[in-house]
Symmetry: C2
Subunit: 146 residues, 2 copies
Amino acid sequence: MQEIYMACDHAAFEGKEALKKYLSNNFEVIDLGTDSPERCDYPDYAAKLAKAVQDEPKLGILLCGSGIGISMAANRYSGIRAALCRTPNEAELSRQHNDANVLCLGARINSDDELAAIADAWFSARFEEGRHTGRVAKFNDLGEKA
Amino acid sequence: MQEIYMACDHAAFEGKEALKKYLSNNFEVIDLGTDSPERCDYPDYAAKLAKAVQDEPKLGILLCGSGIGISMAANRYSGIRAALCRTPNEAELSRQHNDANVLCLGARINSDDELAAIADAWFSARFEEGRHTGRVAKFNDLGEKA
């Protein structure tokens, strides 16, 4: 099975557990935490997943309460293209146009069922290349290296 | 009047013009382009606005078709906290919890009226500080300098 990374903060711990269970039918999930609902800081988990993707490229999913903070932090890292998505349509666009390799989700914004549908759409879509390739290249290598 | 930056790509040119007109009632808008619906690359406009904020800090708004690509690119830059928002509630959260200084919008996702309502909510909200201050500090200085 294809391996993927997942990580989250405390606000999304339950959402991450539910989504991990759902995705485990089709993927080998490498869970980078957090492992409890105890308070933690979303940038720490964005960094863990970003560095994992830099070291060994795989697709990844990051969750926090809104998805906003964890997407800001993840995009600080070179080679990470972290897309905050609220709908399956946005998830498709983020793969087709932006070659997103990290899906960011808000566990307090979308229900568990919605998160699963967004993830399904994201994994099913493919980068369209063409004119999008040059656009991605213009920012992809900026930012922090592992 | 408070000065703000705005920039966008071709897909959001009309949306940017409409939002600029709306916001000009309350803000002095420094428009960094694009200035026509001719095709251009969103990372160029993310970079322009990010460097403007780094040089002379003000709040800013970035738009592309989905808002996803331009938010990825903007967050590559140190000190930029670019929040992709689809609703007024998300806009408030991004200021309260993440001290967002750049609002990212998708002109093909939200209507002009919706974009105006999201922007209003964003400008009205304030950073809550407290535990959020340390979280923002953990990633804020990462990334590219001007």
